[in-house]
């Protein structure tokens, strides 16, 4: 069986044609312009993953929310658990871009990276 997917690795957005075997496992892909497209196609069939970004509350920060992202891509089936767990999360200012943070989900612990430096309120940048 064949499936058509758009590669999301870069803004080129290659049109992938993915061939699968009888057990619906990845067989081969055409239409990708680079090797990353093949990796994406393989993963998209076996275990689709995404980097997820959201914001969490900052206490005493110069802004109210700080953006975070998962350090690595997580399974699509874990997205809801991650977002729900991040909703109740808060950090104290200051936080710096690149700081690592762990969010405890029901399914697993999610390693996240802070995406913006937020100093304490009234601190001059």
């Amino acid at each position: 069986m064949d499936v058509n997917k758009i590669c999301i690795v870069c803004p080129k957005g290659c049109h992938l044609n993915i061939e699968m075997n009888r057990d619906n496992a990845f067989l081969r892909v055409t239409g990708n312009l680079c090797i990353r497209g093949e990796q994406y196609a393989r993963e998209e069939i076996d275990n689709p993953k995404r980097i997820i970004t959201t914001t969490i509350k900052v206490i005493e920060g110069s802004i109210k929310r700080v953006p975070i992202k998962t350090a690595t891509s997580i399974s699509k089936s874990q997205i809801e658990d991650f977002i729900t767990s991040a909703t109740s999360m808060a950090v104290n200012a200051p936080v710096y871009m690149g700081d690592v943070l762990t969010i405890d989900g029901i399914q697993m612990k999610y390693i996240c990276v802070i995406g913006r430096t937020v100093l304490k309120v009234d601190t001059k940048l």
């Binding site: 997917k5 803004p11 995404r50 802004i63 871009m97 913006r116």
Partner: protein
Amino acid sequence: MKNSFDVVIIGGGPAGIAAAIESKANGASTLIIERDAFLGGILNQCIHNGFGLTRYNEELTGPEYAEREINQLTRAEVTVYKNTMVVTIDAKEHRIKIVSKDYGVLWINYTSLVLAMGCRERARGSVILPGKRPAGVFTAGTAQFYINIMGQKIGNTVFVLGSGDIGLIMARRLSLEGCKVIGVAEIRSFSSGLNRNIAQCLEDYSIPLMLEHTVVEVHGDSRVTGVTVARVNERYEPIESTKAFYACDTLLLSVGLIPENELTVQAGIKLDAYTKGPVVNQELETEVDGVFACGNVTFVHDLVDYVSASGKRAGHAAALYALEAETRQREMAISVSLGSNIAMLMPQRIVKQNRSEAFEMMLRVSKRIEKGKIIVSNDREILYTAIRSYLSPGEAITLSVNYPNFNLPIKVNVIEL
């Protein structure tokens, strides 16, 4: 405080920051004026990833891209005035009037000025949107600000009109934050968003994309209660028999961006009817001596990486102008015009340069073309030609065009094959 600089840049987003770093690196005293309390512009609210693949060779979120740029700017020791608005450009006297709480109202003198004001969203007034005027109608960028910066939820059930990238990204963001996004209507037969965003923002969240559909009525008194959506014919007229009601409390508009050029117009700088940005030459100088422009104020770019590259080019040219201003002689400019299947292009003028190397041209086609031949030429020579597949109005094309040997008008055509 200092009120005279070699180069003054209006706007502290990615274009302005790149222009400032490059200007300073070339030895010009440089000032950036930013109306917000933070540098980085709209990147700060674009928390999704996908930025920087060209510039940094890695996938960053908007705030990460912004902070890297800001850190470089800080190291370059460029002067920055935040919370400051430019209210007047006096191009004749090479000065601008600024207003801010910290500095009051004053004039700043410049040798070169760089316009880097970015673009803004087309809003409800820009599209025909009949019906009532209840609360709950947001542009995608406003919704993005409420959610990502303020941390506020904007509604429960959302319909999206228009399929620009910000609309697609917000459809995903709203879904993640627990809203139900019931559909995205696009009046044209194709989305202007990137293919990857249709895949990762709509398909991942099972949000239907309704091509050749539009909102024909907004319902609700104090708050949106729903929208009527209809299919359109080839003249974009709604087909009566296809009308359907969708109950929702929020309508998001993602109907395009336009360069923000109020200051440009007020300064008497000529705008291009197609890009809606100032007419510029290949060094990003406008038709007014010493005024340069870069980033989305000139042409709405697809990626921030290209905006930074544009800023760098303008910053370079502005610094050279400032440092060599007395000896500079303006050359007659060659005009570049739109031929078949071209919706817009930039630069619109080519000036003689010392090094007759290739120059960069950006264009958008006016319709989808499966396979097309791009030709840039004058009456005597072909300056660029190539055959390309899958040309789409949603994806700008960048060409490296040979500098002409003859002082003749240039025309750009895309021939369907």
